[in-house]
């Protein structure tokens, strides 16, 4: 009896180590052998040009049929900074950052959250999503929400299903009156995004979490420095 138990324990340990090792190795190898996408879309939000008019979020809601009460795109306003009558505001874009290493994709139990291999856009498969909300909790940028109509997780997809299909720019980009948004392929050295990013200092949100977001920001001059 004790002999068989010992034998069993050994076997079970080997099985567990093997299974977890296999899972880990497979997770590593799938990400390593993944063919790099044909292009990688990114967005630059020039906060120095943004006036907080909400034209982008209004266009987004219209084009993507986003129900009232939830937002794919929001412009957060901070301020005023300075003394009247010379006061400025600071606007921050709140939307999906299309992380290259997306936490939502990693935690999704069904694979409904996925990174489109052709464009690098982080997408949601409405049908596969069961609404466990794990992705919503996992997103450090807190931009995911449950769509009250489809009951699936939803968020900005760079208008992949609407504008990009028509070969035009995302709704927010074309709606922006001050041309504060630049959209394009960062693997193409000639693209406007790359030109803008190479010529202007930019920053990204929460890079310390290792998410490698693809929404870049050009910092406005207004406001104090937050530590």
């Amino acid at each position: 009896m004790s002999n068989s138990r010992r034998l069993f324990l050994k076997g079970a340990c080997i099985a567990v180590v093997g299974a977890s090792g296999f899972t880990l190795a497979r997770a590593k190898s799938t990400s390593a052998t993944n063919v790099e996408p044909a292009c990688k879309y990114a967005l630059v939000h020039d906060e120095t040009k943004c006036i907080g008019c909400d034209a982008c979020s209004i266009a987004c809601r219209e084009v993507n049929q986003v129900p009232e009460g939830v937002d794919r795109l929001e412009i957060k306003r901070e301020g005023p900074f300075g003394e009247y009558p010379n006061q400025q505001f600071h606007f921050t874009r709140i939307s999906c950052q299309h992380c290259d290493d997306a936490p939502c994709v990693k935690v999704c139990p069904t694979g409904a959250a996925y990174k489109d291999p052709k464009t690098g856009i982080v997408c949601v498969d409405e049908w596969k999503c069961v609404g466990c909300q794990y992705c919503i909790a996992a997103c450090p940028y807190q931009v995911r929400f449950i769509n009250p109509v489809t009951k699936a997780a939803d968020k900005c997809d760079f208008c992949k299903e609407t504008r990009l299909k028509e070969n035009s720019l995302p709704a927010c980009v074309s709606a922006c009156p001050t041309k504060a948004l630049t959209f394009g392929d960062i693997t193409d050295p000639q693209s406007q995004v790359v030109q803008v990013l190479k010529s202007t200092p930019s920053y990204r949100s929460k890079t310390d979490l290792g998410t490698r977001p693809k929404v870049f920001r050009i910092a406005s001059q207004s406001g104090e420095i937050e530590l």
Binding site: G52, A55, I58, P80, Q87
Partner: protein
């Protein structure tokens, strides 16, 4: 059939009468207000000077001169009259100064942050209209408000 038309005709006429009466009465009420009895101005500006909005309220006791300034040499000679529009010879700072006499900028900021952003750099009439019965900014929709921003800020 003819009976039906008779009813419709009666109804249309009665609606017309009510509408006409109310328009006339609004006009009549406006004419009765103290601000619109200001002979110095209304004598010439009967068409374009009648005040309908809240600012016409007798209780406020506002005169045309309170906002537009004293007549001076107007209309023949030079004057310091202030016109409220982007076509006005008065600059934005002068125009806003006139409104800020009553409207504290910090109170305006509570209603909309854009008051702080535009401060004395954009004239109030750029968005607001005062002589009309209601100011379109009072119940402006989110979309129209955004369009208004875009109408000035659009870059080519």
């Amino acid at each position: 059939m003819s009976r039906f038309f008779k009813y419709v005709a009666q109804m249309l006429i009665s609606i017309l009468v009510v509408v006409a009466a109310s328009t006339v009465s609004i006009q009549a009420v406006a004419d009765e207000l103290k601000i619109n009895k200001n002979k110095q101005c209304i004598m010439c500006h009967k068409r374009n000077g009648i005040m309908h909005g809240v600012h016409a309220n007798d209780a406020l006791d506002i005169r045309c001169q309170d906002c537009h300034g004293e007549k001076g040499g107007h209309p023949r000679k030079a004057s310091n009259l202030i016109g409220f529009s982007h076509k006005s010879t008065a600059d934005a700072a002068t125009q806003t100064q006139s409104c800020l006499k009553c409207h504290a900028h910090d109170v305006l900021a509570l209603h909309d942050w854009t008051h702080d952003a535009h401060s004395n750099k954009v004239n109030c009439a750029g968005c607001h209209t005062l002589h009309s019965n209601t100011d379109p900014m009072v119940d402006v929709s989110f979309q129209d408000r955004s369009k208004l921003c875009v109408s000035c800020h659009a870059t080519k």
